[in-house]
Amino acid sequence: MIDSNYNFAFLDERTKKRIRRALLKAVAVPGYQVPFGSREMPFAYGWGTGGVQITASIIGRADVLKVIDQGADDTTNAVNIRRFFARTTGVKTTEKTAEATLIQTRHRIPELPLTASQILIYQVPLPEPLTKLEPSRQETIKMHALSEYGLMHVRLYEDIAQLGAITRAYDYPVMVNERYLMSPSPIPKFDNPKMHMNPALQLFGAGREKRLYAIPPYTPVRSLDFEDHPFEIQRWDHACALCGSVDSYLDEMIVDDEGSRLFVCSDSDYCEERRDAGHVGGQQAVHLHDALATPVINSTTTLQEAA
Amino acid sequence: MTTLMNLALETTSLSKTFTLHGRGGLQLHVFSGIDLAVHAGECLALTGHSGSGKSSLLRCLYGNYGATGGDVRIQHQGEWVSLSKAEPRDVYDVRRRTMGYVSQFLRVIPRVSTLDIVADPLRRLGVSAEEARARAAQWLQRLNLHEHLWHLPPATFSGGEQQRVNIAHGMIADSPVLLLDEPTASLDADNRRVVVELIQAARAKGCAIVGIFHDDEVRNAVATRCFDVEQFKNPL
């Protein structure tokens, strides 16, 4: 199955070495954006080339690779990237989080807690958390160097002043190791707490912007907030319609023309594992007028067996 | 004979010449070689015809004009300070704590009320706003300035009213040295009398006063000594 026309994992060994060197630098300075010589990949920019280059630089024959896109293994981006690596490395791939040694992800962190023998690789569109506030790269480099992050808090203040609350729902800025301000990539803020003191190594790659950064294992990661407007994750009034989970990030799917909604785990593997273990959800679509009214939770089995 | 201990203000060979560069360097000699010694409790009246340099001398004493030659020294917080040579912040300190000045014309900070103008010298000495305003009110009352004028800026007042604000402003802080430039020029008889009483009271408290009084009656009532500036007109 491996395509012998390409070097192992597509990139030449020199390039992999350069990227690994950049990764070492990134690991040594948690949250600091390290510039790297981003290569042309057989994907267009915006399709995860940064994440792919990182994976390609560290993947080995004994690795087991999982690729997810918005939590699912079966969406276009994930399927393509998984196939790419299968073709250029012959490495075993899996959809089960527990089995994987390398997990490349677009915009979600798996629900299942990771272990010290796993590496999570994020695809990042815009690595600079200050980019919308300070367009000058020169200036943001200075701000990171001098730890001048008042501007980010100004933005959060402004949110509260104009909208009553910090309304950022994804790509919520964090302080890594209490030193660098970092963009966690467009993961929902629901996932932010998972980055904190994670036993797994977390690597972030932005191919188009040519920067990578890292959070070494067991590093403090704190989401920005105000003392009287503390950080809060999203919550749903519904459980997963398929497995009944109340703890996972739910996707909202519209299933008919009347606007009925189905709430389903975004992490497809997590949902499947729960169903295999016997959990069952309400399997009911929520009608629009109900969705807007009182909460619908099928509690019974789920909460007791969730442990 | 007054002892050196009471000496409050003195000048040594003080001279003043204006050089008008806009007029090709034309020099106007005002006075030269003035030696003054003013003691606590004295009121020295400067005399001489108009244009003889009385006002200029007073301004030199205040530090408003620089000295072309010689020196002006004042007793300030137990030390002698040369006003001609002092740094600006030291001159300000002397003016704040030791020297009061009633100028001929009222130069006002626009839009500040009369009460606050008069209270200002006390505020600069650290007195609370409330107390300073209360004392300012007393002074204005004494000078027969009607209460309805107190919250107005004095820019639209009559000459006599402005003069009285000036006097209150210059005298309220009970400075050890007081410089008065025609304090009664625009006042009617009643108010002149009030000012004379105020000056006499200051003298009684040990204030050293140098003043220009064009009104003979006033001069006779307050001055202990006269000093003719006119004789120092020509350059040495």
């Binding site: 008042g150 100004v154 003392e227 | 204006f18 620089g66 300000y92």
Partner: protein
């Protein structure tokens, strides 16, 4: 009368090259500024006064001479003595500019963040210093808006919706929120309507007095100098031609140029 010098300029100069020759925008300027003193730098356009201000505020490097500032320790309790600004790290200079210094620009737009609200503008320095309580920040912003006589109902409005005079007041509040000891002002009232200028000057005078601010105020308007400053520097062609007590310079000017300036002022 013994107190520490706050800001010391020693033979400060800046040159640029014009048609192959060095030309001095500003040269040989020396003075010592003490806490609570206001120094006006007066001159016509081309005199070098704005360049001087920027040298003092370390926005340009000196080509000659040096500028020294009495930097306090981080805890703010002991003065460490005069430190040469040229020897300070950029991080320290930026920190200084955000805490112990203020800089009021001639055009408020240059000194404000136009895309965040008035309240955010005022709170920014505090947030940069670690303030993390939203209601407290808001409280500070409201208090300062009252102090500079801005309508507190406009706290969430963008500065672009404020009038020119209001923008200047906002700029002042934004600078004073960290209680700086030294404020640089570049023509703070120029360009505003006369009545607005007058009220702003009153405000500045009161604030300087109340907060015991030291300030260096660049202005071409002698009336502003008389109103705000105890000391004055008169500049022409990059040099200081006369300096001293403001009222003495204005009432008894010695230098030909100072005499010319004073006699040129129109009084209605």
């Amino acid at each position: 009368m013994k107190s520490q010098v706050l800001l010391s300029a020693r033979q400060v100069g800046k040159s640029f090259v014009h048609q192959g020759q060095p030309r001095w925008a500003c040269r040989g300027v020396s003075f010592d500024l003490y806490p609570g003193e206001v120094l006006a730098v007066v001159g016509e356009s081309g005199s070098g006064k704005s360049t001087l201000l920027r040298l003092l505020a370390a926005r340009h490097a000196c080509d000659e001479g040096s500028v020294h500032y009495d930097v306090q320790t981080e805890s703010g309790n002991e003065p460490t003595g005069l430190v040469n600004l040229a020897g300070m790290s950029e991080a320290r200079l930026r920190w200084l500019a955000r805490t112990d210094w203020g800089f009021v620009e001639q055009h408020a737009r240059d000194g404000l963040r136009m895309n965040v609200s008035g309240g955010a503008n005022i709170g920014e320095r505090l947030m940069a210093l670690g303030a993390r309580h939203y209601e407290n920040l808001r409280g500070e912003a409201i208090a300062w808006m009252q102090r500079v006589e801005l309508d507190t109902g406009r706290i969430d409005d963008l500065p672009a919706t404020y009038s020119g005079g209001m923008q200047q007041r906002l700029q002042i509040a934004r600078n004073l929120v960290t209680h700086p000891r030294l404020v640089f002002m570049d023509e703070p009232t120029t360009g505003l309507d006369v009545s607005v200028q007058a009220r702003l000057l009153d405000l500045l005078r009161e604030l300087v007095d109340e907060l015991q601010l030291a300030a260096v105020v660049v202005t071409h308007d002698l009336a502003v100098a008389r109103l705000l400053a105890q000391r004055m520097l008169v500049m022409k062609d990059g040099c200081v031609v006369e300096q001293g007590l403001t009222d003495r310079l204005l009432d008894d000017p010695q230098h030909p140029y100072t005499q010319l300036l004073v006699s040129s002022v129109l009084t209605p």
